[in-house]
């Protein structure tokens, strides 16, 4: 059978030689190893001061995007909730009233949109399922809480700020091909609004 690792050793029950039986050479060898580690570079990351670098496509806390005018993109179609393998997403749809055009992009919107962060496995399937480019995963961490209820994030925590300078940049999570594809006139309305696009 082929060895599964290059480090495997065949165990032999041979009688130990005298040098092996007094153990002291082996003990000294072991102590040399620990002493070498004593002077090695330490791997600890001192958390609050130092932070591990995240990958540009890190899948962290979700964001519900607004379009370039500040209207919510989400139309409460429910595809994200269907796609979600952990069943973490729930929503209640509502109809847009007159005068709310600046708040909601289309006639239907999500009145309640909740993600249970304890159920979420941060797979990103909701982002993949969304036809309106409304939900994205960001490189922000989900904050901790003392109670379970605090982990059910509603629209107050999910929707990005109206202020254009405080919008959350998710362009890193899009491949070049997708960004290029979205420039097609037919899909232009689905372009992700970012600062770079605004320029």
């Amino acid at each position: 059978m082929q060895a599964l690792t290059t480090r495997s050793k065949i165990a032999v029950n041979k009688k130990m030689t005298f040098m092996e039986r007094i153990y002291i050479p082996a003990i000294l060898g072991g102590m040399a190893i620990t002493l070498r580690h004593f002077f090695k570079k330490k791997v600890t990351i001192q958390y609050p001061e130092q932070q591990r670098e995240f990958a540009p496509i890190y899948r962290g806390h979700h964001v519900l995007k607004r379009d370039e005018n500040g209207a919510e993109r989400c139309t409460a179609c429910g595809l994200c909730a269907v796609a979600c393998p952990a069943e973490a997403i729930t929503m209640v749809a509502a109809e847009r009233k007159k005068g709310e055009e600046a708040l909601y992009r289309e006639e239907k919107y999500a009145e309640i949109y909740e993600i249970n962060m304890l159920r979420c496995i941060f797979c990103g399937l909701c982002e993949e399922a969304c036809p309106k480019e409304a939900i994205f995963l960001t490189d922000e961490m989900v904050l901790t809480d003392y109670a379970r209820a605090g982990f059910v994030h509603g629209k107050d925590k999910l929707v990005e700020p109206m202020d254009k300078d405080k919008r959350i940049d998710v362009s890193k999570r899009q491949t070049k091909e997708v960004a290029e594809f979205k420039k097609h006139p037919e899909y232009a309305h689905n372009q992700v609004y970012t600062k770079s696009l605004k320029a």
Binding site: I27, G30, M31, T34, L35, K42, T44
Partner: protein, 345 residues
């Protein structure tokens, strides 16, 4: 020197030795955590104060603030007596260790040793034997099977290894011709360290010192994976602290004894040829002794974070079937060599 002056000087020396033992034991806990961390590529405690230097204080404070629990089924008197004996025996051994030469102040000679009894080694052996009672009584009084098993292991282990330790010391005493630690330390001037004359005895003594202080690889009495905490399972608050503290003081004292018996005590080769003044030489001697002690404390930790624990039968095999015959052979070998070189008449 007047009698009152003598008393004040001795009381001061006792106080200093006691304080130093406690402070070193305190910072040994910090050093142990740092050494463990460094050997595992970590940083260790570094938040309390600069480099985490206040960590032992924080730990001590925590120990004092903990709830003190005495189990209902335990024997209360013995339950309190156990840690007291452990702490007492580990503190009193420091009395016979020569911490340096003598200071000459105002025509008086002040030896840096609390008491130079002429049976210093025997005294240490006797006190370490009593130290077993601290663990035994504590384990038995807890009325808990894990505590009792830990105490049984500890006492049988310490009794077994005391024999080999005593025999290793007999060979050393044959060579030095005295039981006084002061004379043994004073003999080892220059490079005449006893390790050169007694290498096998040193290795036996070192292994036994590990067993006597219950340090890895001989930490079976408190092997947490099998016995939870061993003999101190039922202990909490500062009574537990006493047990842990006693262990670190024991480690410090054992390091001091190893340094005194085998590594020239306060001597260092070639220093005596520099023609330093007596007082300066004595102070330098203290520095040398403590650097040796610190090396051995590090050595204790180094071994702890390298070797795994023995199995119980392996421990007994090593003690009875290897170390005792080897130490008897060492005694006979030393005697033969002394006869050949004409030191026995």
């Amino acid at each position: 020197m007047t009698f009152t002056g003598f008393l004040i000087y001795k009381a001061l020396l006792v106080l200093i030795v006691f304080t130093i033992s406690l402070v070193i034991a305190m910072y040994s806990t910090y050093a142990e955590r740092k050494v463990a961390a460094f050997m595992q590529d970590r940083l260790g405690p570094n938040r309390a104060g600069p480099f985490g230097l206040l960590q032992p204080l924080a730990d001590g404070l925590k120990m004092f603030m903990k709830e003190e629990i005495i189990p209902n089924v335990s024997n209360k008197f013995l339950f309190i007596l156990g840690p007291s004996i452990a702490m007492f025996t580990s503190c009193v051994t420091g009395a016979v260790i020569p911490w340096g030469g003598s200071l000459h102040i105002g025509g008086n000679v002040y030896p840096l040793q609390v008491t130079d009894i002429n049976i210093g080694i025997l005294y240490i052996m006797a006190i370490t034997s009593i130290g077993v009672y601290g663990i035994m009584i504590g384990g038995w009084a807890s009325n808990n099977k894990y505590s009792l098993l830990g105490a049984l292991r500890a006492s049988s282990q310490m009794i077994s290894y005391e024999i080999a330790m005593g025999l290793a010391i007999i060979a050393l005493v044959m060579h030095t011709g005295t039981l006084s630690l002061n004379k043994i330390a004073a003999m080892q001037t220059g490079w005449h360290w006893n390790i050169i004359y007694q290498p096998v005895g040193f290795i036996i003594f070192l292994i036994c010192a590990f067993a006597e202080t219950n340090r890895t690889p001989f930490d079976l009495p408190e092997s947490d994976s099998e016995l939870i905490g061993g003999y101190h399972t039922e202990y909490s608050s500062m009574k537990l602290g006493f047990y842990l503290f006693a262990e670190y003081i024991n480690m410090f004292i054992s390091s001091a004894i190893i340094a005194t018996l085998y590594f020239g005590g306060y001597h260092m080769p070639f220093i005596d040829r520099l023609g330093l003044s007596d007082n300066f030489g004595a102070i330098l001697g203290i520095v040398f002794l403590f650097s040796k002690i610190f090396f051995f404390i590090f050595f204790f930790m180094w071994v702890r974070w390298t070797l795994p624990r023995f199995r119980y039968d392996q421990l007994m095999n090593l003690g009875w079937k290897v170390l005792i015959p080897l130490s008897i052979f060492n005694v006979a070998f030393t005697g033969t060599l002394m006869w050949i070189f004409g030191r026995i008449h």
